[in-house]
Subunit: 162 residues, 2 copies
């Protein structure tokens, strides 16, 4: 009987911490996803910085341009962000004059469109974005990029599952 305790100093016989840590370290999708996002965001930030826009803002500006005239809620759903996050992030783009509120809208919501200033910024910044893209391809590997797109399409199909 005593030998059982003697030969095992782990608190939890079934799941020693070392095994849990190994399993999570090897397999955690969330940890890796976030780490990749950090590295990639820093990369794009560094190339976009001279243009006075950062990576998430560039991303949002393109989203607004793509959607044409959309409410904060619509943009949020398309970009998988909270309404409140959209409100705050758009406030910065509005301050910079890169996007505008559509004044003619009835009453409840004030759709957002890209401004001429915003378009000019995109045209000016897109070469830097392309350089960042190239670096990202080198960093992640060309074939990973394809998988990335496919992944995102899977997400799109599973609307609001989290």
């Amino acid at each position: 009987m005593l030998y059982i305790h003697y030969t095992n100093t782990m608190t939890n016989i079934g799941y020693p911490i070392s095994e849990i840590v190994g399993e999570v370290t090897r397999e955690c999708v969330m940890t890796r996803t976030r780490r990749i996002a950090r590295v990639i965001t820093n990369l794009y930030d560094s190339y976009l910085r001279p243009h006075g826009i950062n990576a998430p803002q560039f991303s949002l500006l393109v989203m607004v341009a793509k959607m044409g005239s959309a409410s904060r809620a619509e943009i949020g759903r398309a970009n998988r962000q909270e309404r409140s996050t959209l409100t705050r992030n758009l406030a910065l783009l509005l301050e910079q004059g890169w996007v505008e509120e559509v004044v003619s809208a009835g009453g409840r919501s004030r759709p957002i469109i890209i401004s001429e200033t915003g378009k000019a910024l995109l045209e000016q910044a897109v070469p830097s974005w392309r350089t960042a893209q190239e670096k990202a391809r080198q960093l992640l590997g060309q074939e990973s990029i394809g998988t990335l797109l496919r992944m995102e399409n899977n997400l799109a199909q599973t609307e609001s599952s989290a």
Copy 2:
């Protein structure tokens, strides 16, 4: 001569905004990476919430456990985070008592280790993490997960390139 202007209302002949927007929307690695990270983080958050820990904190706690006894700077390098980010994120884990500072350390740095409380939390929370993992696999597709790991390994080889 006049017809050239007549048939093209774009400001920039070479790169109409619509093409730029299309290109970025289709191809931007940063946009997609961040969107995936948001969705995945929310997923893990929802499963970990009952345990009083969120996704990034769980991730960091496992990282600390894995590294054994590491300085903030070392953890930051391994996890691709700024030292200052590490300082603040670890402060929360310290407050909760999930990690501890090693007191015996000489003087300049105070290495961090996981505490017994932290180990207990991991043991308690890991089943929820496994459920989140399963949902993530369903969401992204089994084969994408493998690519994700490979991607991260590529990153690891390219130390501090951004």
